[in-house]
């Protein structure tokens, strides 16, 4: 019993340690630079002692928005399809396929994006190919399983009486889906979208490989981009001293953003009453 309670404290301990270690390493630099200058500053030039992550934040925002544009409609459609439309012989294949999509390593996504999407974008749409668009496509597919599985669970949790009632009133299947099932499952669907947003914000290796990693803020989907995560992964290998602290400071911002996103998702799943 005592051992069990101790085990149960492991995630709490881990979360606190992660927060403490990353804050302790990154926060001094943020305070030294001034939070406003660090977060809004548009010049990241470790050689000159300039640490502004404004452009990186913009990059992360572009890429995450793009990923949601692709991942949300696809994820929702898959969930509705699995729940309401899929003929019995297809569903047993599609569900593990979606879960497999979540299991494929991010470096594999990045590499396949690099050898297929990047040249395709370069020849047909212009620009260097390494771009917000390439990141969005790769990330969109990567967050699709998260959105689909949370949505699927919340659609399944809608009492079947709702469905039957709607059909009994003469509603078509599509009307039942859009007017009854989706509204009833809305908190869960929103939570799935927010969890997907968290994944997109934090994804590193796949984005790094197709982003181009230019330090300018993108102005079009065809521009190269560098994200918060990509910046950490690119420079951690050789950074030292103040530069390394600045990377941990980037980690602090990332941690706070994702932590808030998850808190919102949690509140939504539990609903206003606090009950599941």
């Amino acid at each position: 019993m005592a051992a069990l309670r101790l085990a149960a404290l492991s995630t709490l301990l881990a979360l606190v340690l992660i927060a403490i270690f990353i804050l302790a390493e990154g926060l001094p630099l943020i305070l030294h630079e001034g939070p406003a200058r660090f977060i809004l500053g548009r010049r990241w030039a470790p050689g000159d002692g300039d640490y502004g992550i404004g452009n990186l934040l913009a990059g992360t925002a572009w890429v995450t928005a793009g990923a949601l544009l692709i991942g949300v409609p696809l994820g929702l459609s898959i969930a509705v399809f699995l729940c309401e439309v899929a003929p019995p012989p297809l569903a047993p294949f599609l569900k593990p396929a979606v879960e497999l999509l979540a299991a494929i390593p991010s470096v594999v996504y990045g590499f396949v994006g690099l050898v297929t999407l990047v040249p395709l974008i370069r020849t047909h749409l212009g620009g260097p190919g390494f771009s917000v668009l390439a990141c969005s496509l790769v990330l969109g597919v990567m967050i699709l399983p998260t959105i689909a599985s949370v949505t699927y669970d919340s659609l399944r949790a809608v009492p079947s009486a709702y469905r039957e009632g709607s059909l009994a009133l003469g509603a078509a299947r599509w009307q039942t889906i859009t007017r009854v099932l989706i509204p009833a499952a809305r908190p869960g669907i929103l939570a799935g979208i927010i969890l997907g947003t968290g994944r997109a914000l934090g994804e590193t290796m796949a984005v790094l490989m197709v982003a181009g990693n230019a330090l300018r803020a993108p102005t079009s989907p065809l521009d190269p981009v560098r994200t918060l995560t990509g910046n950490i992964a690119l420079e951690m290998g050789y950074a030292a001293g103040e530069h390394r602290q600045a990377l941990f400071a980037t980690g602090v911002v990332l941690f706070l953003v994702i932590f808030s996103v998850n808190v919102v998702a949690r509140a939504l799943v539990r609903g206003p009453s606090g009950a599941r």
Binding site: L4, T11, I18, P96, V98, P105, L201, G202, M209, F255
Partner: protein
């Protein structure tokens, strides 16, 4: 009714597109990678930075890292799940544990990498090593194992427990002899998912286990996992053939692990109904 038809077309389109993307992704990697993979590729040491030779040290590195991660995370995770499902009712502590577990699940792998680097590599002086990498991965897969195990334990019918108590079993006996055996397939599912995530992880491992391309001989030796090896080969353009070969092995292994996990869970759920 026209709306119905249009919707059906869109939903079918999304489903087929998703299946198509998965098949194209896996197909591309296997088509380019499998011709490279043979016994020699798996069992030989690499030479000239991975340009030639095999990937044996990275296979060993991946297995060692995933095994250590699971060896640490499985007891902690299953213990947490038992505690949450069998020993407590709602309370502040339980709320905090759930909050921490959910939050930990949302932490991106690069932050686990930074954390593992600061705590295990630097502060505890373990250096870039199998131990640092495995412990970092253990923290990362803990939420998955807890959630799956807790669900599996809660799915054990109440009547099983009642019978055990009626026969005079204590809570401990009931958990060990009745609840855990019937929840085992579900618990194994979570552990397998953890193995899969550990094997596919790059960002958390590259800063904690290092990139040394030697065969690790102890827990304190640095190790390069297959994912990290693939990343380095691909990104630095060292050898497209060996990169694809490594990716093919990785994708096959992870697919096998995940499909096994899925199959176990289906059987477990089918038995319940």
């Amino acid at each position: 009714m026209r709306g119905d038809r249009l919707a059906a077309v869109l939903l079918w389109g999304a489903a087929l597109l998703t299946l198509g993307v998965l098949l194209a992704l896996v197909g591309h990697v296997l088509a380019r990678g499998l011709p490279v993979v043979d016994r020699e590729f798996l069992m030989a040491r690499p030479s000239s930075m991975g340009r030639a030779g095999g990937i044996f040290p990275t296979v060993v590195g991946t297995v060692a890292l995933a095994a250590l991660a699971v060896a640490v995370a499985a007891p902690l995770g299953v213990g947490t799940a038992i505690y949450l499902a069998e020993y407590t009712r709602r309370g502040r502590l339980v709320e905090m544990i759930r909050f921490a577990t959910d939050s930990l699940a949302g932490v991106p792998s690069i932050l686990f990498g930074l954390f593992g680097f600061l705590l295990f590599v630097v502060r505890l002086g373990l250096g870039w090593s199998v131990l640092s990498g495995g412990l970092t991965l253990a923290v990362m897969i803990l939420p998955t194992i807890i959630r799956t195990a807790e669900e599996a334990i809660r799915a054990v019918p109440e009547s099983y427990r009642e019978v055990s108590y009626a026969l005079g079993g204590t809570t401990g006996q009931t958990v060990v002899r009745v609840v855990l055996p019937s929840a085992l397939p579900g618990i194994l599912t979570g552990i397998l998912l953890g193995v899969g995530r550990s094997a596919g992880e790059t960002a958390a491992v590259i800063f904690t286990a290092g990139t040394a391309l030697r065969l690790p001989r102890s827990l304190l030796d640095p190790a390069r996992s297959m994912s990290v090896h693939f990343f380095i080969l691909a990104r630095e353009g060292i050898s497209p053939d060996n990169a694809y070969g490594t990716a093919a092995v990785l994708v096959l292994a992870i697919t096998a692990v995940n499909l096994t996990a899925y199959w176990l869970l289906q059987r477990f759920q089918a038995r319940r109904h």
